[in-house]
Symmetry: C2
Subunit: 192 residues, 2 copies
Amino acid sequence: MEILKVEKLTNERWLNLYACHFQHQAHHGRWVYASRKEPDQPHQRADAVVIVPILHVPAQPPRLVLQKEFRVPIRGFNYGLPAGLLEEGESIEDTVRRELHEETGLELVRIKKISPVLYSSTGMTDESAYLVFVDVALPPQPRAQALEGSEIIEVILLDHAEVCRLCEHPDLPIDAKAWTVLYLYQQLGHLS
Amino acid sequence: MEILKVEKLTNERWLNLYACHFQHQAHHGRWVYASRKEPDQPHQRADAVVIVPILHVPAQPPRLVLQKEFRVPIRGFNYGLPAGLLEEGESIEDTVRRELHEETGLELVRIKKISPVLYSSTGMTDESAYLVFVDVALPPQPRAQALEGSEIIEVILLDHAEVCRLCEHPDLPIDAKAWTVLYLYQQLGHLS
């Protein structure tokens, strides 16, 4: 497979459409995809973090933190995991801590696992993220979310029985990574 | 949140960029996203199936079927699950059977679970898929893949130990759903 050239089809600030011309044996093709990056930008690290937070509060069962968020592309609410773009020069841990603060008001206690770079959907985009499994706690002082003008986010805390119920809901608008995490904990039989 | 209008920014065959204008309290915003659908098309079902096949062969351990596929948007190979778009009028089961034939040459035995509609990444697209857990078998007669001109796909069979090793690989280019499935089976301690 040889990449012949990449054409930029739009000139938007956050997301653009590109056409990539390629040659594979006798087949010449043109593949259109969406990207947040310029095609010559190096791709050493992922664009974003997607966080799997388990909240531990003394004398209470552990709970998974999800959020119900309005998403313009689907013109409705979606259940998902807290997530955000890595800013220039920011470490994965810093981004996790910042996004937890901004979106949920919760405190990072411990990072348990960081996935490799995971691609969202390589047929249509080069978008990628780290899936980061963390333990979180309530802040010493109650803290409000710090949302931007376009954000409507409701934080949802689920114990293991609620995780299992949500996973079996037949028509919940839900993110693929979030549902797969619900299914993981349902199959494992506990949150940890 | 009120959607004011949706502008189509490109006129491509398979994927387009749209700008959605919305009003949220005093905030007027414009959100650019990518979609395979027209904005007024009804969204009752997902765009695609993503298949989690476990291969059972008598006297051998069960194996997870992955594929290593060249993906133009990332200009390289990616490890992923067999997947494909639902065609008009085609049932989920028919699409699963067809994609397994075309991409892996394997035979559908049994559908074990179908997820609800799962969104790939609702910040940038309305793309959605069903995650379908299935048992598969070798065909009675060996069968070749039936690939299109733009497809380069290598089928990979992994027993439980190999699933665990691949899941821990630090810099494998891998799809988010595929890695989360590896992690699920690693944590469960068996393929089933």
